[in-house]
Structures are given as C-alpha cells and as structure tokens.
Symmetry: C2
Subunit: 329 residues, 2 copies
C-alpha cells in the first residue's frame, strides 16, 4: 500500500539578520527586557528577496536533498499565509522562478495562515494515497515584515522572514506515513488575529480612506492564547485518537513557533520535555506558515528525528484554528 514519505527538505533564510536589540533601540525600549519577554534574539529579514525567490531557493535545496529534478514533481503546492501577489497563485510564481514553465507542473495555493503547511501536508498525503500524485513539493514562504506594525513592540519583535520546502513522495511500506490529522476552526476568534485590508473587504485602492493599521497585522495575543488553552486538551485527544497512538508514543513535537512564552506554556501543559519540542524561535522569530517546516528542517538536519520516529506537527493559526498531523518519519 502507498504511503507518504518525506524525501527532502530545504530552507532559505535572508542573509540580513536583525537583532532584537536593534529593534528595541529603534523603538526606544529596553533591549534586555524585550529580548527576555519575547524569547527572540534575532530574525532574518528580506532586503530584496521576493516570496517566490525564497521559495524557489528552499525548493532547490529540497530537490537536491531528495535527489530529484524539478520535472520529477507532479505538483507544487504553495502553503503560505500571505501570497506574493493578489493574482496569480504564489505556487505559479515559484514555478516561474525555477524556470519551470516547460514542465507544466500543476501549481496551486493552500491557505490556513500559520497552519498552511500542515493543511498542505494533509492534502499531499491524500493525493498520494489516492494515486493522484507521486511526488509533491510543498513550499511555505513568508515575508512577515511586509505587514508588520512596527509601532507595536510585540509584533515588531515577533516575526521573521524565510522559506521552507518539503518533498513528499509515495513509497510502498507498512509502517511509514501519515498516521492521522485533525483541525478545528473557531471563528469567534477570527478577529483575534487579522490583517483586515488587502482583500475584497478593504482593497488596496481604498488605502487612503483607511487608517494604515487596517493594512497591518493585528493580534490580540491574550485572546488567542485563552481560546487555545481552552480547546487544546480536547483537540489533542482527537488528534491522537485519529492517529491511533498515545502521547507517549511520540518521539518529537514540532509546534508552530507562535511565540516564546506561549510555546513554553503549551509544552508544559502537554507534558513534553524540552528535547522533544522543537524550538527555533530564538534565532528565527515566528515565520508564519514557514515556521513548522523550518523547525522540521532542523529536526531532520540535526538528526533529532530518525526514520521510524513518530512526529507530531501542531499549532494554531488565525481563524482561529488549531491543527495538527502525526506521521512516522
């Protein structure tokens, strides 16, 4: 029977590194306090890179890692929170950046904000199980800095830019693959995390009739966290049930890098050790949908997970959604 296996991973981080100290000085706040409160020392921020450029660079590394060529892919899914352009799909623009037009590889985007990679992983797995596709690239590429309100210190220090790519492939096997997934959306929290403008509600052409804030990221972190904590236990039980395993069977948890403090609280609440809970936020910040695949990248590259390990991806996203997926690596 066909199963889904991770064949290669890639990461692109802009060369420009911005420290929390720099941001704190610019905003005239105490660097030590902000670094401590955020748990973030630095993040990568684009200079001239585009979303598709970063995505293509990550994809190139992932293809090399998988020992595949672009034309071996059956599909490119872009799984990012914010696209490069309103039209067309960012996946098309990544294919273009790869000079891949002649391949004709189908391209589309999946968006569940910070959980986009998890949703795309689930869809890729379904495509492989049904025989629709054999090799799929998922690319998450984010320029969080394009939408950050620099005046809000929590936002200014929280986010980072970057891209990550993962190649999924069909293999024959008994034990590997996706064991289960689960997602819940509670739209009473849809205004907790948002960028109101930029779509059909407040199109860019209405820019000068609206406050700048309508086009920038807004988060009520406290409300998000409160709702998340209330739903987390029930959610985890369902996810584990869908996967048919117990919490103790997991070797590694790869959470969305939402924020330093919230990750620690969730880790303790769920009862995982520091070693079992990937945390790359200190030098990356929250990279929106690229956070989970970037943390997965490091888990693989640093041999913190090995073939056969059971790994859980888990996180929250604007919506408000809680989502997760458990797979055997």
């Amino acid at each position: 029977m066909k199963k889904t296996s991770i064949k290669g991973v890639g990461l692109y981080l802009p060369s420009r590194i911005v420290t929390t100290e720099e941001i704190a000085k610019r905003l005239n706040v105490d660097p030590a306090r902000i670094t401590r409160a955020s748990g973030i020392d630095s993040r990568h921020i684009v200079t001239n890179e585009t979303s598709s450029y970063m995505g293509a660079e990550a994809l190139k590394e992932a293809l090399e890692d998988a020992e595949l060529q672009l034309q071996d892919l059956d599909c490119i899914i872009n799984a990012s929170g914010v696209p490069q352009q309103a039209i067309p799909s960012t996946a098309s623009l990544i294919q273009k950046q790869m000079n891949g037009s002649d391949t004709g590889i189908p391209c589309f985007d999946i968006n569940s904000t910070c959980l986009s990679f998890v949703t795309a992983f689930d869809v890729a797995n379904m495509a492989i199980l049904t025989g629709k596709y054999k090799r799929i690239a998922i690319v998450s590429t984010e320029i969080a800095s394009a939408g950050i309100n620099e005046k809000v210190i929590e936002s200014a220090v929280l986010f980072g830019d970057g891209a990550s790519a993962v190649i999924m492939a069909a293999i024959e096997g008994e034990q590997v693959g996706v064991l289960g997934s689960h997602m819940e959306t509670y739209s009473d929290g849809s205004s907790f995390t948002e960028i109101k403008g930029g779509g059909t509600l407040i199109p860019p052409r209405a820019y000068n009739e609206h406050p700048l804030e309508d086009f920038l990221f807004h988060m009520d972190g406290r409300a998000v966290f409160k709702m998340t904590l209330k739903k987390m236990d029930g959610f985890l039980t369902k996810l584990l049930n869908n996967a048919g395993i117990a919490k103790q069977d997991l070797q590694m948890v790869i959470p969305h890098q939402a924020s330093g403090s919230s990750m620690e609280i969730v880790r303790k609440k769920l009862g995982f050790s520091v070693d079992q809970f990937m945390n790359i936020i200190r030098n990356h910040g929250n990279m929106i949908a690229a956070s989970i695949p970037a943390a997965l990248y490091y888990a693989i590259r640093e041999n913190r997970i090995k073939r056969g390990d059971k790994v859980m991806l888990i996180g929250t996203s604007a919506g408000l959604s809680i989502g997760g997926l458990i797979f055997e690596y």
Copy 2:
C-alpha cells in the same frame, strides 16, 4: 467503495444589476458594439455585500438543497481567486458569517484563481476517497469589482460579482463520482493575468509609491488565448485519458466563463454543441472562481444534467493554468 457525490448547490447574486449599456455610457463608448464584442448584457455587482456574506448565503441554499445542517459538515473549503482579508482565511470568515464557531468545523482556502473550485473539488474528492471527511462544503465567492480597472473597457465589462456553494458527500456506489482530473501550469504566462500588488511584493502600505494600476487587474487576453489554444488539445487528451472516457461520452461541459468570444472559440475547437456547453456569461459576466460552480448550479437547477450524466469542468486561470475534472453526476 466510497465515491463523491454532489448533494446540494447554492448561489448568491447581488441584487444590484449593472448593464453593459450603463458601463459603456459611463466610459463614453458605443453600447451596442461593446455588448456585441463582450457577449455580456449585464452582471451583478455588490453594494454592501462582503465576500463572506455572499458565500454564507450560497452555502445556506446548498445546505438546504442537501437537507443538511451546518454542523453536519466536516470541512469548509473556500475556493476563491481573491480573499476577503489578507488574514485569516475566507473560509473562517464564512463560518463566522454562518454563526458556526461552536461547530469547530475546519476551514481553509484553496487558490488557483479562476480554477480554485476545480482544484477544491479534486481535493474534496481525495478527502472523501481516503475517508478523511464525509461531507464537505466548497464555497467560491468573488467581488471582482474590487480590483477592476474601470478605465480598461475590456475589464470593466467582463467581470461580475457573486458566490456559489456546493456540498460534496461520500456515498457508496459503483458508477458515480469523480472519473478523473488534470491540471497544467505554464508560468511563462504568469504575467499575462495578474494583480501585482496586495501581497508581499507590493504590500498595500506601499500604495502611494506605486501607480494605481499595480493594484488592479491586468490581463493580456490575446497572450492568454494564444497560449491556451496551443495547449488545449494536449490537455484535453490527458484529461479524458485520466477519466478513461472519450469526448463523445460527455453529456455536458461546464467551462470557466472566461469571456464570450473565447468560450465560443474553445467550444467549436473542442467540438461541443451549444446545448452541451453551459454559457451563463450574458447575465453574469466572468465571476472568477465562482463562474464554474455558478454554471454548474444552473445546469442542475434547469435539469440540463441528470444523475448518471458525465460532466466535464474545464477552464484556464492566471498562472497560466489549464485545469479540468470529469465526474458522473
């Protein structure tokens, strides 16, 4: 064995109707010539409706048609070309508009511009085949008018607003379901149809440093059509092969309502009769991703397709992509 069946369909059209004559007069061009050239008499345009409001209204009708309640759904997929907000997903906002937060139904967006519904249909089918979900709502809701360059007569008359929803459900059966699908993306055409701004490349905050046109829809219709015609025959052969049927086995074709003239040329080239080729453009215009499900809605409501008929969805989208799906209704 599980198969995917369409259980209900819904449509929402804004009550405001704008005639081509009105637009022609406003732009000081000959109404008769423009109406003839576009093949469009009128389209619906929002007054105060939001994307999520229209999507929710269409979804309500589809649920009623399917004799289901919101809480019976396992997933809501928004399949639109342009979202309501940059963050969160439009699917979440539709759930919110339905007062559905307590259901916790997972929500995410799929975007392949005008082909979003076809891609979502394919994904929904995979979710049903793998047993992931049993009942899925796909909602396409578009406010094309938010991004139209009114000074370009071809764009000003081409587009219309509206929403359509389809409920997919798992049924046991031998003969119904999705027979096959196929998509090709040729990103050398990615700049033929685009809205450059609004994402990370030219974020709304850069509005005043860029010409207005960067935030509005641009299409090189001639280039799109040339590339489409070149690829169409090869594409159709692959789609039919994937479905394991011949062109003659199809009872109905539901094309993207790209433009009056291009649809006629494609229809003749592919060799389908007028009766076999749904055309609703005269009173709707091009509703981006909502075009195909809206045409499907009329095909079902007007009894132009019946259970057991083989139906082909087909179209092009920004990317440039060509996509299609064949199912037995």
